[in-house]
């Protein structure tokens, strides 16, 4: 059996805040999650949901209040783990007195890349992220998009097995986002595990094998996009001919749109029979009935709105 890429066992984080540091602020409730090797895993949630906290705990940037985690079977505080992982923080900041080439060389040294391999590897990485033309310009002169490319380059420079990306598409233009998507796909085809946090659902839907939704520091659901959207309330779209909206239908509280003599109704599957019954009773002409595929966005919104906790959700 292969070792999981990431295994999180009830990882929890509480910050002490205030002048006397006596008040406690819960950032992450006990989180249990497993990510298999080779997966592209999306970690979804709104701002302040606990995505970055989780990544900081996994990267050893903040100690957990309770719980533990393993990456490739090694404890997260084991320094050997660090050689196997790459990390792109949200809105990355780098030493702006350095050029991109100098920065990557510095990171290659820290990551233990042998001296003989550093120069060719840095050159290849600069080319891969498309900044070889400005590789000898100090980073203080770089645009946000270019810095994001440098961030991606430093995350994969040392050929890590697991890559953690915190909001990798944030602030990028459509072209930049597309390039990041392509890079993630390339990493997956190279057999790497990619764990990325985002609140851009279309990216997650397009890229991820599985996703998890986190809100207010609590895991609300985890699974493949298809599984999750199936769990979400399914709907049907019913189109029929009518000059006016029947009062009974209006009273049912379904979404309706009238254009000319056509009425378009979107209702949950439970209400489908009630809608059809009204159409039969009113002798209205049915044109079509189509199941509406639930999107990840609907699942996400549903999970964020749900008051019930998602405790017990597991990978």
């Amino acid at each position: 059996m292969t070792t999981a890429a990431v295994e999180i066992f009830d990882l929890e984080k509480t910050y002490r805040v205030g002048f006397w540091r006596k008040r406690q602020k819960l950032a992450l409730r006990p989180l249990r999650l497993t990510i298999e090797q080779g997966e592209v895993f999306g970690f979804l949630g709104p701002n302040g949901a606990g995505k970055t906290t989780t990544l900081k705990l996994l990267m050893g940037l903040a100690p957990p209040t309770a719980g533990t985690a393993q990456i490739l079977g090694m404890e997260i505080h084991d320094p050997r783990v660090r050689a196997q992982i790459g990390f792109l923080p949200e809105q990355p900041y780098f030493y702006d007195h350095l050029t991109a080439r100098e920065l990557l060389t510095y990171y290659a040294q820290l990551s233990g890349v042998p001296a003989a391999e550093r120069f060719p590897r840095v050159a290849a990485m600069l080319k891969r992220v498309g900044i070889e033309g400005s590789s000898d310009v100090q980073l203080r002169k770089y645009s946000k998009g270019m810095l994001q490319r440098v961030g991606l380059a430093q995350a994969i420079l040392h050929d890590p097995k697991v890559v953690f990306l915190d909001e990798p598409m944030s602030g990028l233009d459509p072209m930049g986002r597309r390039e990041v998507r392509e890079l993630i796909q390339q990493l997956q085809s190279e057999g790497k595990t990619v764990f990325f946090s985002t609140h851009i659902l279309s990216d997650a839907e397009a890229l991820c094998d599985r996703v998890a939704v986190i809100h207010q520091g609590e895991l609300r659901g985890v699974g493949s996009v298809a599984e999750l959207t199936r769990q979400s309330q399914s709907k049907v779209e019913i189109i029929f001919c009518a000059a006016n909206l029947p009062p009974a239908l209006a009273a049912l509280g379904v979404e309706t749109r009238i254009s000319g003599e056509m009425v378009n109704v979107v209702a949950s599957q439970e209400r489908q029979d009630s809608v059809l019954e009204i159409l039969r009773r009113e002798r209205l002409h049915l044109i079509s009935l189509t199941p509406v595929r639930s999107s990840l966005e609907e699942y996400y919104v549903e999970k964020l709105r749900s008051k019930q906790s998602g405790k017990g959700a597991s990978a």
């Binding site: 660090r82 050689a83 992982i85 990390f87 900041y93 007195h97 510095y106 820290l110 961030g151």
Partner: protein, 258 residues
Amino acid sequence: MNSRIASVAFNTFREAVRDRVLYNLIAFAVLISAAAILVGEISIEVERMVVVNLGLTAVSLFGVVIAIFIGIGLVSKEIDKKTLYTVLSRPLRRWEFVVGKFFGLAGTLVVNTLFMAVGVFLALLYVTHRFQRGDLPVLAALYFIVLEFLIVCALALFFSSFSTPIMSAVFTFALFVIGNLADDLRGFARVTTGLAGAIAQAAGYIVPNFSAFNIVNQAAHGDSVPARLIFYNTVYALLFSAMAISGAVIVFQRRNLK
């Protein structure tokens, strides 16, 4: 020194150089040249003393200002700018980072002091027209100044590991001033009894004894410096710096990065 510490140290040194820290050498050069030319007008008896006194005091002050103002930002600036995120997610231990930052700043100060030392000796040559055996204590005084910088750097690093940059600067500068009065503090403790005496005695031994490093007057008079003092001061500076850095490491090890 392992290669990761060396990499962090070199990056710190390079940052200081690119942030134009060594530009202070221009101000120093102007000051020492003006002093040498002006004292040329005074009697030959005192001009050497004036150049040595002024030169060594300037070397010390310029260096201490750099040690404090860069030292307090060594760790806190990296936390504020979040540059640490991509550094500490690599196979680099937190203590290696702190020690590397210390060596980087210490290296910057040593290079800075070397250039200033050359300036002092050129000014000496200008006023006395030749080097003499009595100039050797100037080298010892410069060495003691470098040792003083190591302690100041380590203290700035220690305070910055848990305090704001402004408070760190205040604490470090206060300790630098009190440390220069450590001998007086110990003398006061000897003639005072009761609680005040005990506090003065404790403070006299806790604060870094910078007064033991100040041999500017001896150097100006050309008095020789005992080898024993050089040995004791070296051991003292290394131990004190190591303690302060260890304190910084202990605090930084537990710190949450925001």
